[in-house]
């Protein structure tokens, strides 16, 4: 069970949290002004990096707040967390760079015993 840093309550066990997808994808203010492609990108296109990933969590069985966190998807370690509606803190590795490959089937991690 992971430990997850809630920016309000502190470090708490994973069982209290719900994952809520990639962070910093704001709902367009005027959805009607988007063409189908742009709307589809908003709905479905995600960066899915292998590495540091800004994502949303909710402390469902705690303070109930949605918040953002940067987690490394390769090591499964949280780097930081911050309140919803605030920018990704300076100094945290930026979102997926082009050379960060998308998650592939990592046999080293998932291979069977």
């Amino acid at each position: 069970m992971l430990l997850i840093p809630c920016p309000i309550c502190g470090i708490r066990p994973e069982a209290e949290f719900t994952y809520a997808g990639e962070a910093h994808i704001a709902r367009p203010a005027e959805p009607a002004s988007l063409d189908d492609h742009a709307w589809g990108e908003f709905l479905y296109a995600r960066t899915n990096p292998k590495g540091d990933h800004a994502e949303r969590w909710r402390h469902t069985h705690g303070c109930g707040r949605f918040f953002n966190a940067v987690r490394n998807t390769h090591t499964d370690r949280f780097i930081t967390s911050y309140l919803a509606g605030t920018a990704r803190p300076h100094g945290t590795p930026s979102a997926a760079s082009p050379d960060a490959p998308a998650m592939r089937n990592d046999t080293e991690q998932w291979g069977q015993a």
């Binding site: 069970m1 992971l2 430990l3 189908d36 709905l43 909710r58 949605f66 015993a113």
Partner: protein, 981 residues
């Protein structure tokens, strides 16, 4: 006091502190099991949890039968009943030992090669044969009668293992007040010190020093001491799984006690002091009973006073076996020979052995062994550089103690994702860089000597305490005398090719299998492992992995690290399922949610169904009624008189704030601004993708207050979605959400007499149609209890939903039920509710809709307030595909045979014949037998369904296609006359 126990039906005596292994050895029993594949007779190889051969079954006699226990870990108690495994008909005479003669057929990869064709033969012929022939214990065939406990625990420092390093670590770590948990898989703390007859620590004999340290630990209030507790798995963020055995060692355990307890320990720091495992030598006949690890033989003799043989030969590549020889000799075992494969052996221990008069030969190794069901002769010899055998010599013996050096136990370190580092000097892997907050201490990181291990443990313990925020002065070093000091390293000498020397004893993998695998092109240890199954048995290759790796590396002519090491995975030793399940069995498997009226329903013989975690009354049979009869009666009663239904499981959310209506406008497709207080609306909620997510009636209680209902299953999801938008997209809105699902019980009163039922009960409220039309809400009281009264209908009849605080629900229910009965009505359950709503064409989210249905598909497009600039999902509705021709639309179906009830999920086709490849036009979503309409009905999602009204399509069934007429989904009262009565 002696303990009487039985093994394979024969009775023996053991001593307190014995394991089954030591007690059987003391009784002269050497044959303990048959091997997995070849059914070869096997005895003990080891003295601890790494034992691969001696797997036994323990039978508690009340259905509690546990297979595959290591005899070296089974504690003897009075009345213990144990049996050997994998033998037929008996251990001494095993018919399937013929497998051994067929060994050439059973070599590496035999599964893959032998049984390629014919395909069908696998399941019918080979697989059952192999299953019977090869295997471990018998799985229990009844539910586990024991119960199990589970606990979370938190500490500053978890110390795993209580040998010298672990004990020293725990004492050092806890000195400054840190919370420390010390666990050990054995019944007593001390590890190797329990079998140390020569060392003195701080002037105390080793076992006495252990007792003193345990005393110190026990006196510290923040220390938790756990014996019989295996640290079996490492999980993220320093959570370590411990399996604590609580009653298996007791003759008559208190049945209220759990058998085992799972500890989920969250440790700020972990000290792994898991020790090292001695490595067998690989030579033909190395699996014969009586051939065991030298230190295991020593441990049996010293710690358990169980002589592993009368006359011993010791074969070694390391100095520690000399200590074994000396201790065995001191315990009365005749040591005929120490054969050291190394060319020189000059350390203090070899010198001591020579001084003790033991014959020591260097450059000598075991060539083979002889003896039926146990070793009688060791054939020794020297091998020159040309590979020729010289000085062959037969040595009579009943014990062959072997030592190929020591393998640090890296399992938990590796599970923590630490990097393994190969140490060429000792030809072992050692812990490298850590990935978790842990450190290894003692022989599990190659620090072997007693004084070094003690110092290493103390250092690790105080460093761990320091890193978790405690003062931790390093304790004064222990003064150690008489310990085995030197020569723990042991390069494995090159071997000549030899036949059938066992490497993995538990899976019966030989050196020959490994060579075959490399010859056949498997060059990575992960592939060799899968091909030969080496290291894949329940012991996870504790005694075999390094030998397998050395052999493969030597054969490939590559360094060991280049061949790689297989991955270690939990559990370290097998953990019974009961321990992992813990309390989650029976009624505690999942919460069983019941409504406040559940007790009444149960007392009135309701048949319940599971809806998520809820128990809901499905129908209330009377007399001999079956379900269909009861449901039909309940439906008819609702249509003709009145019915009472428990709708308490509906999700309810109170939405409050100045911007409540604006929030509703954004969340739902409907228009809410102009909905007056006192009125309700059927709300539909989409996902941002435009598909239906949930539905429910919302009533406006005040300009700033809505009482919203959701589906039973959708309640948490809807609330979470609302919170999500409020917190992250529209934080400027003055709106707050509170779940009131469980605050309000809901009594649905439905039917032409519904108003007559309630009118006398509602404390003077006017509930006539003029004051309370369909889709209205009022606040008042019923039989003195506060009430929110909704006039809504999910049946098509005049209906009310009485919301009362849950604690008063049963009293109100009884009052309402008395009126219902008096007016010729009855209670009804979810099944009748489903039929009644289907007759009216009302959908159930998740039944008619499946996450790809639009409101248009479901005939609900009328609800969309198209003038609204935006709401969740609106943009997606403009996609061309959402209104394309060919989408499946909600329709009703009438079967040609009115008695026929279609299967829900049945596919619809254009023609009766539906050969493979026929395109489905849609499927049946709901289907019910005749209730009130004189015929069965079905709802379906059908391609272009609304354009097909009146047409006939075919519903596919196993017994043949059924013609069905496509009709409007509203079967009853399309004008809503009954509804608005």
């Amino acid at each position: 006091m002696s303990l009487r126990f039985s093994f394979d039906g024969r009775s023996y005596l053991g001593e307190p502190g014995d394991t089954l292994a030591s007690a059987l050895l003391a009784n002269g029993v050497r044959l303990l099991g048959r091997s997995f594949k070849y059914h070869r007779p096997r005895g003990l190889l080891a003295a601890g949890s790494e034992e691969p051969n001696a797997l036994v079954e323990v039978d508690r006699g009340y259905g509690a039968r546990t297979p595959n226990l290591r005899a070296t870990q089974v504690e003897v108690y009075d009345g213990l009943v144990a049996r050997s495994q994998n033998r037929f008909p008996s251990l001494g005479f095993d018919l399937q030992a013929v497998n051994d003669l067929a060994a050439p057929l059973l070599s590496a990869g035999f599964y893959y090669k032998t049984f390629m064709a014919p395909r069908g033969a696998w399941a019918k012929l080979y697989e059952p044969l192999i299953r019977r022939a090869a295997g471990l214990g018998r799985a229990p065939d009844v539910a586990d009668p024991d119960h199990y406990a589970s606990r979370y625990a938190h500490c500053d420092v978890l110390v795993i293992g209580s040998g010298p390093a672990g004990l020293a670590a725990a004492v050092a770590a806890s000195a400054g007040g840190a919370r420390v948990i010390l666990c050990d898989e054995q019944p007593r703390f001390g590890g190797s010190l329990l079998a140390d007859r020569s060392a003195r620590i701080d002037g105390l004999a080793a076992p006495d020093w252990v007792a003193a340290q345990v005393g110190v630990l026990a006196s510290r209030p923040e220390v938790t001491l756990l014996t019989r507790t295996t640290a079996f798995g490492w999980y993220p963020d320093n959570m370590v799984g411990l399996a604590q055995r609580l009653t298996d060692h007791l003759p008559e355990p208190d049945p209220t006690l759990p058998r085992e307890r799972l500890w989920q320990v969250r440790a700020k720091q972990v000290v792994i002091a898991a020790g090292a495992i001695e490595r067998p030598l690989v030579f033909p006949g190395n699996d014969r009973p009586g051939v065991m690890l030298a230190d295991a033989a020593r441990t049996f003799a010293v710690r358990y006073n169980a002589a592993p043989g009368q006359r011993a030969v010791i074969a070694t590549t390391s100095d520690t076996a000399y200590r074994a020889a000396l201790d065995l000799q001191a315990c009365g075992v005749e040591v005929a020979l120490i054969a050291d494969a190394r060319l020189r052996a000059d350390g203090p221990l070899p010198a001591a052995a020579r001084a003790a008069g033991i014959r020591v030969e260097t450059g000598m190794r075991v060539l083979a062994t002889r003896g039926r069901r146990g070793i009688r002769v060791a054939i020794m010899g020297r091998i020159d550089l040309d590979g020729r055998v010289r000085n062959r010599e037969w040595v009579r013996c009943s014990l062959l103690g072997m030592s190929g050096g020591w393998t640090p136990s890296l399992h938990l370190f590796s599970q923590s994702r630490g990097e393994l580092r190969f140490d060429p000097a000792s030809e072992t892997f050692l812990p490298g860089a850590s990935a978790a907050a842990e450190r290894s201490a003692g022989s599990c990181r190659g620090v072997h000597g007693l004084d070094d291990a003690l110092a290493d443990g103390a250092m690790a313990g105080s460093a761990a305490a320091h890193d978790s925020g405690f003062d931790a002065a390093l304790p004064a070093p222990c003064h150690v005398e008489g310990a085995a000091q030197a020569g723990w390293t042991s390069p494995v000498p090159a071997r000549r090719k030899q036949r059938r020397a066992f490497v993995d004893f538990q899976n019966d993998v030989t050196s020959k299998d490994l060579l075959l695998a490399t010859q056949e092109g498997f060059h990575s240890i992960e592939h060799v492992k899968r091909y030969t199954t080496t290291g894949m048995a329940t012991d996870q290759g504790k005694t075999s992995n390094m030998n397998a790796l050395s052999i493969v590396a030597a054969e490939l002519g590559r360094p060991v690290p280049a061949v790689g090491l297989t991955t270690f995975r939990p559990p370290y030793t097998p953990v019974t399922f009961g321990t992992l399940a813990g309390y989650s069995r029976g009624v505690l498997f999942d919460p069983v949610r019941t409504t406040p009226v559940h007790g009444w329903a149960a007392a009135h013989k309701a048949v319940f169904e599971d809806v998520g975690l809820w128990k809901r009354a499905r129908y209330f049979p009377r007399g001999d009624e079956d379900m269909h009869q009861a449901v039909a009666r309940e439906c008819r009663t609702v249509r003709s008189a009145v019915g009472l239904f428990d709708a308490s499981t509906l999700g309810k959310i109170e939405i409050i704030g100045a911007d409540a209506a604006e929030f509703m406008n954004r969340m739902y497709v409907n228009a809410w601004t102009k909905l007056a207080p006192g009125r309700c609306r059927y709300g539909l909620m989409l996902g941002e993708n435009g598909f239906l997510m949930d539905d429910g009636v919302a009533g406006r209680l005040a300009p700033d207050r809505f009482h919203v209902t959701t589906t039973t299953g959708g309640a948490p999801r809807v609330l979470a979605q609302m919170e999500d938008y409020l917190q992250t997209e529209w934080p400027e809105l003055q709106v707050w959400l509170t779940s009131v699902t469980e605050q309000w019980a809901v009594l649905a009163v439905q039917g032409p007499r519904a108003r007559d039922v309630l009118a006398p009960l509602v404390d003077g409220m006017d509930i006539e149609a003029a004051a309370m039309p369909h889709m209205s809400v009022a606040v008042g009281s019923i039989v003195g209890v506060p009430m929110r009264l909704f006039r809504v209908s999910f049946t098509g009849e005049l209906g009310f939903e009485v919301n009362v605080p849950a604690g008063h629900a049963q009293a109100v229910w009884e009052a309402v039920h008395a009126r219902v009965e008096a007016l010729g009505g009855c209670v009804y359950g979810t099944e009748a509710m489903h039929v009644l709503r289907a007759e009216k064409g009302y959908i159930i989210v998740g039944q008619e809709s499946d996450g790809t249905a639009t409101l248009g598909d479901l005939g609900l497009g009328w609800a969309i307030a198209k003038a609204k600039r935006d709401f969740v999902g609106k943009r997606s509705l403009d996609r061309a595909d959402m209104t394309a021709v060919g989408r499946r639309q909600l329709v009703g179906l009438l079967t040609a045979d009115p008695a026929c009830v279609l299967d829900e999920g049945a596919q619809l086709t254009e023609a009766a014949a539906a050969p493979v490849g026929t395109r489905s036009l849609g499927h049946v979503t709901s289907s019910y037998g005749e209730a009130t309409l004189g015929h069965s009905i079905a709802l379906a999602m059908l391609a272009d369904g609304r354009a097909r009204l009146g047409e006939t399509v075919y519903a596919q069934r196993p017994e043949g296609a059924m013609p069905v007429r496509v009709v409007d989904p509203v079967f009853l009262d399309p004008k809503g006359v009954r509804l608005n009565a």
